[in-house]
Amino acid sequence: MAEMTYREAIRQALREELAHDERVYLLGEDIAEFGGSFKVTLELLDEFGPRRIRNTPISEMAILGCAVGSASTGLIPVAEIMYSDFFGMAMDQVVNQAAKMRYMFGGKLEIPMTIRAPMGGRRSAAAQHSQCLEAWFMHIPGIKIAMPSNPSDAKGLLKTAIRDPNPTIVFENKMLYNVKGEVPDEPYFVPFGKANIVRSGNDVTVVALSDMVDYALKAAKQLEQEGVSVEIIDPRTLVPLDMDAIVTSVKKTGRLVVAHEANRTGGVGGEIAAQAGHRAFDYLKAPIERVGAADAPIPFAPNLEREILPDDRHVYQAVLRVMDYGG
């Protein structure tokens, strides 16, 4: 095991896949000499050259169009969308093209493309550089979605995404880039559709996405001192989604909190809650709680942003609500 940052782990995944398969190439805005806005692709230009590490114009639609077209004809593109907010400029290529072409063509095409998309707030980047938009894409059949919450998963999920013959979005959490964690030395992949039981517990299940896993862990430590045993599940991928793991846990604990940084309304927490409610209804001891951003654009002022976005305090309070229900 080596300790490295989330950023370094992602770069290592890219490096390994570029070395593994000549068909893999990277494209995006400022990803070459500059190394990307978050320096994830730094050094890769020197290692793999300008044929494979490719700067693009500021043209998100053209970037993803190139990814779709090259993936359809034999290459394996890894495109970077500098901030996931910028998906707004390129939605057609994801939603109407990449997600649907195989199906529309009766299975005659494979589109092995990966989109890396930094997501999330807590940086005073304000309303257009801070969003978590995974729900947009979970709503569209045909796209896989990964949301790594730690360096080891960041590497293993990205490698799996690149090897997957389908369009995949990997949402990288900007606040995790500098976070360090243990990463295996030997080659490995983290499979899609297999949740990680981050912490075992008996009283309440917390399903947490991306950096909400760390906030859930913090809340769980506090709650443990107060006699509440929290189980934390990180689904790691939303498509496919390991509902079996979540349902199994809910049947054990009888209580469910779903936590993500994205807006609560219309967020994937609602979908997870609905499925869990349907499949584990008879086991539930309290209504399912959702933790997410309040329904407002992300404000600039740090204190306002803290007001909007969920953290460990919100998880803590939601757990207390399900524990206290009816009591």
């Binding site: 693009t56 639609m61 053209a62 093209q97 529309m104």
Partner: protein, 326 residues
């Protein structure tokens, strides 16, 4: 000029245009009889563009098409029976009945799909062109689109992207004077659509899209240039849409005098006359017509007799299955 086109190519283009015309006339009639569900956009009057462009392409070269895409697939070698079955929504169609008229595709022929999002194909074709460039072969990739598409942001992003990466992308604008119902003077100010190319330092030409020879020759020079690493090109083909935007369109927006003269320019009739002038016998041309008519008759019978897709097919082909061993 047209006399320099080899006679076998000239005859092949004639056959392509005839096959497209017969196919489109048949589907128009079948649509009216309720045999074809959904939307139907026919290519009648524009045949010379697909035929002239694709006569320059190899099997491995890629094309991407529009909602008005039947002609492009036929010109790239599509089989009329599998196409007809697809338009009928039958299991035997090119795409198992899941795509239909607006999404018909055959990647094995290099046809990356009719695409019903106006402008989208211009961005995708760059990826196909990049694959050829990246692999170091001399393949080219052609996007077809209309005059209306040249007002989308995607089109402009794609043109710039192709120019900057020096891709073997060829952008073929089928300028039929209408963006659906909106006449061109109401949707863009430039005199010639080909002026768009200037902004991207890309060669742009305007040709008579009713003259298959002119389309062929303009494409030939663009393809030769792209194959030898010279980068992208833009070709505007001025053409005429004989029928409505789609089959239900009554075309009240087209002036009466224009409606009366639409069929004055007939690329097939003109090309037939050129071939006769070059010494091809009428009998040989008639035989091409009869072969197409027979092929079409078989195609309709095939589509009629084919089964509907099994309902279980609605749930397949969403994802490519992932093998256990990565």
């Amino acid at each position: 000029m047209n006399n320099e086109i080899p006679i076998d190519v000239a005859l092949s283009m004639y056959g392509t245009m005839v096959r497209i015309r017969r196919f489109e006339q048949a589907v128009s009639e079948l649509y009216a009889r309720g045999k074809i569900p959904g939307f139907l956009h026919t290519y009648i009057g524009e045949e010379a563009v697909a035929a002239g462009v694709c006569a320059n392409l190899r099997l491995e070269d890629k094309i991407i098409s529009t909602h008005r895409g039947h002609g492009h697939l036929i010109a790239k070698g599509g089989r009329l029976d599998l196409m007809m079955a697809e338009l009928f929504g039958k299991a035997t169609g090119y795409n198992k009945g899941k795509g239909g008229s607006m999404h018909i595709a055959e990647p094995d022929l290099g046809m990356l799909g009719a695409n019903a999002i106006v402008g989208a194909g211009a961005a995708i074709i760059n990826g196909a062109a990049f694959t050829a460039q990246y692999l170091g072969n001399d393949g080219v990739a052609v996007a077809f689109f209309g005059d209306g598409a040249t007002n989308t942001g995607t089109f402009h992003e794609a043109m710039n992207f192709a120019a900057v990466w020096n891709l073997p992308s060829i952008f073929v604008c089928e300028n039929n004077g209408y963006a659906e119902s909106t006449p061109r003077r109401q949707h863009q100010k430039i005199q010639a659509v080909a002026q768009r190319a200037v902004a991207y330092d890309m060669p742009g030409v305007t040709v008579d899209g009713n003259n298959v020879g002119a389309v062929y020759l303009a494409t030939r020079s663009a393809v030769q240039r792209a194959r030898s690493g010279g980068g992208p090109a833009f070709i505007e083909c001025q053409t005429t849409r004989w029928r409505g935007h789609h089959e239900a369109d009554q075309q009240h927006y087209r002036p009466k005098e224009e409606m009366l003269t639409i069929e004055d320019r007939d690329a097939i009739r003109d090309w037939r006359n050129e071939l006769l002038a070059r010494g091809v016998s009428a009998a040989q041309l008639d035989e091409i017509e009869q072969t197409a008519a027979q092929e079409l008759e078989n195609a309709v019978a095939f589509a009629e007799a084919s089964p509907l897709p099994d309902p279980a097919q609605a749930y397949t082909d969403i994802f490519t299955p992932v093998s256990e061993a990565l």
